[in-house]
Structure formats: structure tokens, C-alpha cells
Amino acid sequence: MGLERAFADEPAFVPYLAAGDPDYDASIEYVEALARGGADVIELGLPFSEPIAEGSTIQEAVVRSLDAGMSPDRFFEFVEELDVDVPLVCMTYYNLIYQYGSGQGPEPFVEKAAEVGIEGFVVPDLPAEEAGPLRAACDEYGLDLIFIVAPTTKGDRLASMMDQTSGYVYVQARLGVTGAKDDVDDATEESLARIAEWDVPKAVGFGIKNGDHAERIVSAGADGIIVGSALVDIVAEGHENGDPADEVAARLEQKARELKEGALRGAQNRPQPEGT
């Protein structure tokens, strides 16, 4: 439980890639390029065969990764092999976590993740109501469990999530799944207002494509930005064109830099809070 530290000094840039997309070795290079590009936390997707919460961009990444042989055990090897100095979060679906313990619950998966250096989880199909056992295992091994707050999340549900989330909170900036729309929704400010009193950093995701988007989101009050599809697009395009992995890695690094810089600009623009 320490992902908060990545948001402490400046707005955090939190990129996502599906581990093993399009193959194990290239993916190692790509993740390392994101770290070089300024990532503060990296969300690594462990692909599940039924990614019901993903947009088509990430869904296709998941298929590429699975076709190339990714599995939970390979994922843990992947994490161990990574040469990055950035906190890593595992983003996956609950069945993989649950099943790793041969039906005994999430604890064996969390134990193994902690062992290889994972610091937290995002589990898109695990709402707060079903999260008890995973939350307990995370507590046991000192890992964070990050929840997603949607624009539709209101009232009692917010309170219940506030109790359970740690590390940071993933703020879904607008309705829809991980997506590729070009606009940055003005509802970001409103979303942030609803969780203003939460004491975890607020990372905003869904739809951030470039430095300008990043800047506007941070200006609106986000403690960090989460970017997935825009990066996966670069991987997909490189794969389709048969580009060498180092070229694709360079593009990812450059995109990461653009996004991080946008976030930094956003922090400068941010209106000073009144009062405090």
C-alpha cells in the first residue's frame, strides 16, 4: 500500500499496456519505453479471454497477447523480467485471480503478485460489493486495490468504494468503456467534485489521446491521468505494419513524454485552491 507516493509531487502519468502484446519480448521493450518516457505507475494488463469491460482496441490487444501465449504464470515471469523503476499495477479480470488458487480464492494470486513486485490491482469486473476477499488478501500482502468510479456511481456506492479503495482511485471520465473518442469530457470536473473528500489520489482515464487532453484533465483537478487506448493503438499499428520493436518502442516513449509533459503543464494551470 504505497501507490499514493507516485502522485505525491506532481501529476502522475499512468499508462496501460496489455502484457505480452503483440508478443512477450516486444512487450517487455514497450513497457520499459513507457518507464523511460516518464510513467509514474504502469498498469499492466493480464489478458482474460472474456474482456467484457474493454473497448475494441484493448480487446484486440488481449487477443494478440493470448494468441502469443500469455498466461498468469507467464505474466509473473514478465513482471520479474521487466527492468523498470516504476510501481506496477496488474489490471485483470476476477476469474484469473480467483482461479489461480484452484478455486481457493484470491489469496494465492495476490501472494504471487506481491512476490514478483506488483503493488496493486485494478479489476474491472469486481465491484465493491464482491471485493471483500480480494481486499482482504491485498491487505495481507500490502497491496493496493484500486476501484473505478464511474459517472453513474453515486450515493451509497461512493461511500462503500471510498472505504475499500487504496493507492489511487480510477476516475472514469465519462460513460463508456475504455475508448477512443477524441473529446475530453467536461464532466471530469464534476466527477472529481463528487469524490473531493476522498483522501486517495484521483487518476482520470477514458479517452485521453494526447498532451493537450492530459493538460486539460489535470487542469480540471486530476492528480493523474490514465492512458490506455492511445498507447495500444501504437502497438497495434506497429504490429500491423511489421515495424521493428525498437521503432515502436521509440514511438511509445515519445507519446509517453508528450502525455507526461501535458500533465505537468496542466498542473501549472491549475487554479489554486481557495482557503487551504
Partner: protein
């Protein structure tokens, strides 16, 4: 929202408010009949759907098996299968909830056609997601949906089949929850869907239980229904669950084999109750076909409608409780049963349905080499003297598949179709 340890609501946070809203609507309208919802539902099931549907004594099968065999004729429901019971209920509920738009996914197309019919009947815009591979395989059903004025959205990601269509529908719903209801087609998905779909489908056993008592003066010894996701199964079982003396058999698709190819991630069957184990899929904890990592396996059945890696959580629970007996028959047995019912009773069943009759034949049929050891009479100990089989749907949709699969196999019981090879024209 749980059935023992099964069930739950494993869905993206963005959908949770919709699930809560639906839970509230389910409790008010379905359970408490607020605003006369259930009265209107039942009236429309009668007038539009054609209910009540007969419980028919099957003369030839009763003689063949020396057992009173009764057929619950869901094949006569408008649209040709039990699917409309649920689709009509959900579309009507969406209307009561003030939703303006219906979405659904479909694999073989049966749920999509039922939803499109219900939506047209209730004047609701409707969009159906369907994988492009399935669209190419199931064109008549696609045309039926379009003719009922539903949009059919081809899903081109992945392999273009049911799983991608489910993801795509979830994605739509996650964006449009405020105005849109997602009609799930079986007793699967997050709560309250499994209970709600079961309630809509339970009209099957409600009728059958009354009818069998009228016709025989008592309850049956056994009820048989095929099981894929399990909506016709729970529909046929629900009102018999408290009757401890009525045995309930869920007949799954044994496909070509019960063994599994872990390497390929393929289970050549859809027998999740018989061979699957616990996991989380499509919003619920249930029994499913998965590899040791927890990745969902590709399932298989000659019947597209049974071809699903999961099963309703309530059925998983009832199996664990010992109340429902999971059994399965393979593709060959199902095809033979398809032909037997068609020839002996003049009812062409859906291939899904044929599985239930395949089990009847295996347990009660004349001795064969395979069954040489089991004397004919023993089946009475197992099935008893009176059996209800749920005829979940009609088989018109399966003609092409049946002919193709029958020709591959050279089954003794199959009618000779060679004459038509000489005369032109496609199916």
C-alpha cells in the same frame, strides 16, 4: 442475489447503477406486480405468445419406452421457442422502467429474434449485436430480426461469435445505461438477471405442473430439459423444485467428447454442469468450462443454442445441492433423437431440445450393444412411470445443420436424402 455461493454481480462499475435500478424494478414489477405488470405480462404471453401451451402425451414414445411421456410444447410459442417468455418480459419491464431502447446480443440468433419480435410488438427500438461469423452462419435468423425492424450490428472483433457480441453489447450498455435496457437471453449474467429470467420462464413449469395433475392426477416422476445457459431448464424445473419426489434432469451437450484439449483451450462439449468448475463469467460466479489458468474454453455442440461455456448460477447451485441431476448426451445421440421425435411424433424439435430426448432414449430405450448390461426394465427405477420432457423449441432453424451433420455420420435412423442431390437448388 446469490444462489448458495453462485451468482453475484461481477460487472464494471459503470453498469452497477443500472443493475441496481433493474433490481429495484424487478422487485417492484415482477415480484410485487406493481402497476399490474405481471398481469399485463401474462396477458401478452397469452394473446401474443399463444400461452398456455399444451402438455401433450407422446403416444409413440410412451409405447417405445413403456413410460408415460408428456411433452411440454414450448416449440409452439410465438417465434418457435421458449425464448419469447423472457424477451417479452424484459422488454415490457424496460417499458415500465421508462427505457427507450433495447439491446441484446445473440449467437445462434434465437434470442435475437425473440427480442426483436417482442420489441416490435411493444414498439421499442431494438439493436441486436451479432458476430459477423454468426451472421454468415445464421442468415435466416438475421433476416427475421431485420424484418422485425431491429438493427443488427455486426461485431467484427475477435472471431466474430457470441463472446465478442456479448462484450460489444456490454460496451453499448456501459455507454447508454440511462436510456437502454440490455435483454440478457438466459438465466446468466449479474443479479437480478438469473432470478428474473427464471421467473419469466417459470410459466413453463407453472403450466406443466397443473396440466400433468389434470391429466394424470399426480406429479411426474421426472422432468427432463436440455441445458445450455439454462433458461428453458429452470423454466421447466422451477415449480417442481419443492416437489422432492420429482427428479429433475438437466441434459447438457456432451458434444463430441467430454474430455478437454487444454493445449487448444477447447472443450469439445458444453457440459459445464457435468464437467465444469466454479469461476466467474459474464457477471456471475457459476460453473464453467475453463482451463487451469481460469481462461474460458471454447465450448462445442452440434446445437448452437447449447454452445456456451457457462450455465446459470441457480442451476449450478441446485446441482451442488443434489436437487438437479446433470447428465449429458453427445452430438450423435442428439441427432438420432432429433430424427426419432420427428418421425415418431411429427414434431421436429430444435437440436437443443433433441438432447433431452437423447437422454430419454439412452436411459429407457431398447437395449443396444452399449446398453446390453442394463436390462430394459431398470429405467423405471431411474425415470419412473411418468416423465415430462420440455420441448424447448422447434427445429426449422436447424434443418441445414441436421442434414449436413447427419450425412457426415450415416445414422441408421436418418431419412435418405440422396434423392434431392439430383434435383437442383440450395437449401
Amino acid at each position: 442475489s446469490k444462489f448458495g455461493d453462485y451468482g453475484g454481480q461481477f460487472v464494471p462499475e459503470a453498469l452497477m447503477p443500472a443493475i441496481e435500478e433493474l433490481t429495484d424494478a424487478y422487485e417492484r414489477y415482477v415480484i410485487d406486480n406493481e402497476d399490474g405488470f405481471m398481469d399485463e405480462f401474462r396477458r401478452r404471453l397469452a394473446d401474443f405468445g399463444g400461452r398456455p401451451l399444451p402438455l401433450q402425451r407422446a403416444d409413440q414414445l410412451s409405447a417405445r419406452y413403456d413410460t408415460e411421456v408428456y411433452l411440454k410444447r414450448e416449440d409452439l410459442l410465438h417465434g418457435g421457442a421458449h425464448k419469447l417468455n423472457n424477451a417479452l418480459g424484459q422488454v415490457l419491464l424496460a417499458k415500465y422502467m421508462g427505457k427507450e431502447r433495447i439491446i441484446a446480443e445473440t449467437g445462434a440468433g434465437q434470442h435475437g429474434t425473440a427480442t426483436a419480435m417482442a420489441a416490435a410488438h411493444l414498439d421499442m427500438p431494438c439493436e441486436i449485436y451479432m458476430g459477423e461469423t454468426d451472421i454468415a452462419r445464421q442468415r435466416p435468423n438475421v433476416f427475421r430480426m431485420r424484418i422485425n425492424d431491429a438493427e443488427v450490428n455486426p461485431v467484427t472483433t475477435g472471431r466474430g461469435t457470441l463472446k465478442e457480441a456479448i462484450s460489444e453489447t456490454m460496451r453499448d450498455w456501459a455507454t447508454t445505461v440511462e436510456t437502454t435496457h440490455y435483454v440478457i437471453g438466459s438465466i446468466v449474467g449479474p443479479a437480478p438477471f438469473p432470478a428474473m429470467v427464471r421467473d419469466f420462464q417459470s410459466v413453463i413449469s407453472e403450466e406443466a405442473r397443473e396440466q400433468i395433475q389434470e391429466q394424470t392426477g399426480g406429479l411426474p416422476d421426472a422432468v427432463l430439459a436440455c441445458a445450455g445457459g439454462g433458461s428453458n431448464t429452470m423454466g421447466a424445473f422451477h415449480h417442481f423444485v419443492p416437489d422432492d419426489d420429482v427428479d429433475l434432469y438437466a441434459v447438457e451437450a456432451g458434444g463430441s467428447s467430454l474430455s478437454v484439449d487444454e493445449e487448444e483451450g477447447v472443450a469439445p462439449n458444453s457440459a459445464s454442469l457435468s464437467t465444469g468448475d466454479e469461476g466467474v463469467l459474464h457477471g456471475a460466479r457459476t460453473k464453467l468450462l475453463q482451463d487451469s489458468d481460469g481462461q474460458i474454453m471454447e465450448s462445442h455442440s452440434v446445437s448452437a443454442g447449447l454452445d456456451y461455456a457457462g450455465v446459470g448460477p441457480e442451476l449450478a447451485h441446485l446441482v451442488d445441492e443434489g436437487r438437479v441431476t446433470p447428465v449429458n448426451v453427445d452430438d450423435d445421440t442428439a441427432l438420432e433423437a432429433f430424427h426419432r421425435l420427428s418421425q415418431d411424433e411429427g414434431i421436429i424439435p430444435a437440436l437443443e431440445t433433441a438432447h433431452a430426448f437423447g437422454y430419454l432414449e439412452r436411459v429407457a430405450g431398447p437395449a443396444t450393444d452399449d446398453r446390453a448390461a442394463e436390462p430394459r426394465d431398470e429405467h423405471h427405477d431411474e425415470l419412473g412411470d411418468t416423465v415430462i420432457v420440455n420441448v424447448s423449441g422447434r427445429g426449422d432453424k436447424d434443418l441445414e445443420t441436421v442434414i449436413e451433420e447427419t450425412q457426415k455420420r450415416d445414422l441408421d435412423i436418418a431419412p435418405d436424402m440422396s434423392i434431392f442431390n439430383e434435383i437442383g437448388g440450395g437449401i
